[in-house]
Amino acid sequence: MNPIEEINEVVDVVPIYRGHASDQFKCVPWKMVYRGREVIFTQLGMRHPTEKGKRMIHAFNMSDGVNDYRIDFDAERLIWTLIYVMGGDYV
């Protein structure tokens, strides 16, 4: 019923930092390695900040053209976490 598959696992991410882009596109994940599989992102859906107590978390909604991924960057601990995957085949 719920199209979201929760993962909550720390993942390896290669981000791109762009010096002259607008605020929301300065740092964008480019690819991620999840359980040995490489996922290359093709689209940024939305980025929004959120908080865990006083810890700043940057939430990225990314897509590889088939599935949607939500990955969070913990700005204090400097780790990337894959929060969930929304399967394109489901939708």
Partner: protein, 418 residues
């Protein structure tokens, strides 16, 4: 017949981010774009659609419809749970864009706001409000996301600007002024007017008013003395003619929280835990607004269709969770026992500015204040409900913070618990 129409240049712009939560989810999830989907607070078989995408609306899926009914209309319908930080980001961006055009902006709710352009003409550089409207639409796409669509209405007052924003959905931009006012009303039904639902429609019908044009043509005396039998009739008379009636701030009268039980129950232990949770969230809101309350009301709707409430005004003011719960429990214990409770709630009233910074002469009162302050600081640092009272445990398991539709006063507070 059509006297007193406001012929002022339209200077109010109403911005409506339609299907805001659903569109924000489609923006965030590219695979959902162009598909019938909706958003709810917590997914269950019988949960309700609180926002539906345009694609879902086209199929007849409406806000308030149960998931099972929506699936019956469209088996491919997708439901997601709300994500407050995402909507807050959209809200913040929208406010920031609006503030670039006038300091006089007012958010009416999370997804709609008004820009007042009175006195701003020198800063518009000769651009018309229609040009600015299209510019704002483009900025929303550039700065929030290319899937975001807004409706814009421009008119001499907030009511007509809101009507104009809803004229051609989605992605519309319309102007209503004295020139096209009659033509606009002639195309609408009474219930298309904001504030006129079935009951008001029936009342208007009983006085021979069946269309907005007839409503518009009715004289002020008749509306005030016969149809509405109050000053509301005058307000409607002026509102329909483009005069500003709705540009007023409302005072904070009460603060509370309610909860609809998924499984109606009469078990006192469970109900007390739910009450304790509602008291804790109310206490958070009371302290967030920097006020104290003197009055408290507890109410419940029962499965047998009856309802019950008890309220009391106290001599001393209170603001701590413990005090709110203690006073609420006194009232709750008067509830008739046995009947299953379907929904329940509490609210505090008799609000006055907080005196929390004043030192108490009595050590036991001071200790309660210190505990409240310490718990608030811990929850502020680690996230809401990191520390909470033992009586709340069961309530905390089932009650979820919901997205506030009516206003944006508690959005920051909600984000701490998201």
């Amino acid at each position: 017949m059509y006297k007193d129409i406001n012929k002022e240049k339209p200077m109010m712009m109403f911005i409506d981010l339609n299907s805001a939560f659903a569109t924000a989810e489609q923006q965030a999830h590219p695979t959902l774009r162009g598909k019938p989907m909706g958003v709810t607070n917590r997914i269950s078989k019988e949960c309700c659609v609180i926002a539906a995408s345009y694609e879902a609306k086209k199929l007849g899926i409406k806000v308030g419809m149960r998931l099972s009914d929506a699936k019956a209309i469209c088996p491919e319908f997708i439901m997601l749970e709300t994500d407050a930080p995402k909507y807050h980001r959209v809200y913040q961006k929208l406010v920031s864009i609006m503030k670039d055009y006038s300091p006089k902006i007012r958010m009416k709710s999370i997804d709609e706001g008004v820009i007042d352009f009175h006195g701003m003409e020198p800063t518009l550089n000769g651009k018309s409000l229609v040009d600015i409207g299209y510019e704002i639409k483009q900025r929303v796409k550039d700065e929030i996301g290319d899937w975001m669509r807004i409706n814009i209405g421009i008119a001499p007052n907030i009511f007509l600007a809101k009507q104009a924003a809803g004229w051609h959905k989605p992605d519309g931009l319309d102007v209503i002024d004295y020139k096209n006012l009659r033509s606009y009303y002639s195309q609408m039904k009474l219930t298309d007017l904001t504030g006129i639902a079935e009951r008001f429609e029936a009342r208007l019908n009983s006085y021979g008013i069946f269309t907005p044009l007839q409503f518009f043509a009715a004289d002020e005396y008749m509306l005030k003395k016969r149809v509405f039998n109050s000053i509301t009739g005058t307000y409607w008379y002026r509102r329909l003619r483009g005069h500003e009636i709705d540009d007023n701030e409302t005072n904070l009268g009460m603060i509370g929280r309610q909860w609809v039980l998924r499984d109606p129950t009469n078990k006192d232990e469970l109900l007390r835990s739910y009450l304790s949770f509602l008291c804790e969230t109310t206490g958070m809101k009371v302290r967030y607004r920097n006020v104290e309350a003197r009055g408290i009301c507890v109410w419940a709707r029962l499965r047998n269709g009856e309802s019950w409430y008890a309220k009391r005004m106290h001599g001393s003011s209170f603001y701590t969770n413990q005090e709110i719960y203690r006073r609420a429990l006194e009232l709750f214990n008067q509830k008739p026992s046995g009947a299953d409770v379907q929904s329940m709630g509490i609210y505090c009233y008799g609000l006055e500015p907080s005196k929390a910074s004043q030192l108490s002469m009595f050590e036991d009162i001071a200790k309660k204040d210190w505990v409240t302050k310490a718990v608030d600081e811990i929850n502020d640092f680690y996230g809401a409900f990191t520390v909470y009272s033992a009586t709340t445990i069961e309530g905390k398991k089932v009650i979820k913070q919901k997205i506030p539709f009516g206003g944006t006063s508690y959005f920051e507070l909600l984000l701490k618990s998201a």
